[in-house]
Amino acid sequence: MVIKVDDYSDVPIYMQIRNQIVMGISGGELKPGEQLPTVRALAMEMGINTMTVSKTYQILKNEGYITTDRKNGARVREEIKQSGEVSEDNKAELRRIVSEARLSGVSKSELKKMIDEYY
């Protein structure tokens, strides 16, 4: 699974990596129980600070997407807890995307089609 980081993006690097790992898990590119690289290895690979990767893993762990322990390192969680709800943050983000799409002249059906594609 290829991840990309843009130094000049408004989104912080740790969040860019977090978002792509979440998308990878959701899209099936990262299987349940799959080993993730160590903090040091990923930092070296991306040419970023280890603290940044550490922060990403900490967030993913807190959100319940991965597990970490000293012996096995970081792994995708076998069973991700499904709340069945969209978080408040994501709702706000979705509202922003829908608003921008409407202002750009994107129809509701087109937007739904996109959601179907990504879901």
Binding site: V2, V5, D6, A41, L42, M44, E45, N49
Partner: protein, 466 residues
Amino acid sequence: MNKILGLIMFLCFVPFLIIMYFVMYPKNWKKKKTIFGVRNRSEFLDGDNSGLVDEIVKGNRKLATVILISSCIISLAFLLIPNLSAMMISFTVFIMIICVVIMLPHIKGNGEMKSLKRELGIVAGSTVRTADLKSISASHTFNILSFIIPNGVSMICLVFSILYDLKLVDVGKGLYQGSFGATVLSGVFFFQGVLFVVLAIMMDNMRNEVISQKSDVNANYNRAKKKLWSDMWLLMTWINTALLLFMVFTIVLGLSPVTVLVGATVWLVATILLMFMLTRKTSLLNEHYESEKVTEDDDDFWIYGVFYYNPKDVRLNVEKRTGIGSTVNMAHPVGKVIAAFCVLAIVFSFVMLFYVGVIEVTPLELRVDNGYVICHQLRDEYNIALEDIKEVTYVENKGDFKPIKIAGVESDNVLKGKFGVEGENDAKLFMNGKVDSYIRIKTDKTTYFINDKTNKETRKTYEEIK
């Protein structure tokens, strides 16, 4: 002998230059990952653009070809210099200069490619960095166990050499015993073997390239590349160990310096062959795994396409843009130290070459002053107290006097330092090579063989000592 040494230098220099030429100026740029240190991208392959890149590549390749051919022809002229030191010094300086000159078309090409990028609207600043999560840990090939045997043999050689020089083991002719020549040699080679292990680890931990959206392809490509390097370092360690064994045997058995020269030549040929093999295999590998799409644009961090300076990248070790192997990020604190060290090493080499040249042209002088025989060249080398002299003889003609250098300088004009002389336990020479007569001075511990600028002056000094 001079001609043979010159020929060896020539035969090593030419293949090295040819390898450098083919690595830096490949004919088929479409199959290469970079063009003059600028990433090759799909935009360059489009109809009109392809023609523009072709023009840049052909123009600079032609220039490099002219440099290559003229360098090879000029280097032949150095073989005609009769004085060995003069030939060696001028040839070495020439090699250093050519290493820079052959890069000039590359530097020019790098500038032209960057301009072309701007003209095509490929704006630098898209600083996207990619990594393949799955291939990161799946592409290590370094195996420390395979390096243990060759380095173990080197270590045994080092221990043996120390014991030999301390005269705790008594084997061979013992001509060079106590000079610590074997110890220094073994130490250097052992250190080199350890350095190869460090370099192999560094190459194994080098960043993996993302050449495809498929993780398997990325993992296979990076694994193959790292395996190639790991094998290369291992082979290099074995070649090193073999030469060390040969050298130590040569020293212990007291064989002639020609034997050492033969060993060193075989080593050089093997190293060149290895370099050639590596270049060829790397090229084949890159052609086999063609890069799908370029998403990164870090060309502007590559100064002249050769030096990497990226303050935003925390990595020290990065893959070279031009040539094979890796280089350092000069924006990294350790990279800055390494770069400074390299500059110092280059300056030091030039200073040393100048110093050797001065030694070669400065005559050795003798004078008797204040109860001492003073041997002077640039500084006072030996001060022999007259009262310590047990025996002094004047020899008119060197004839069959054949000293073997243990430590010091041996050239056409100068023989200076510790030498092995038949029938003498500890012999020190201070002789102008082209002066026939010499004075033999025997003290309690050491026997000195000295002479002045001319036969007449040598005779005069002898009279003063007597």
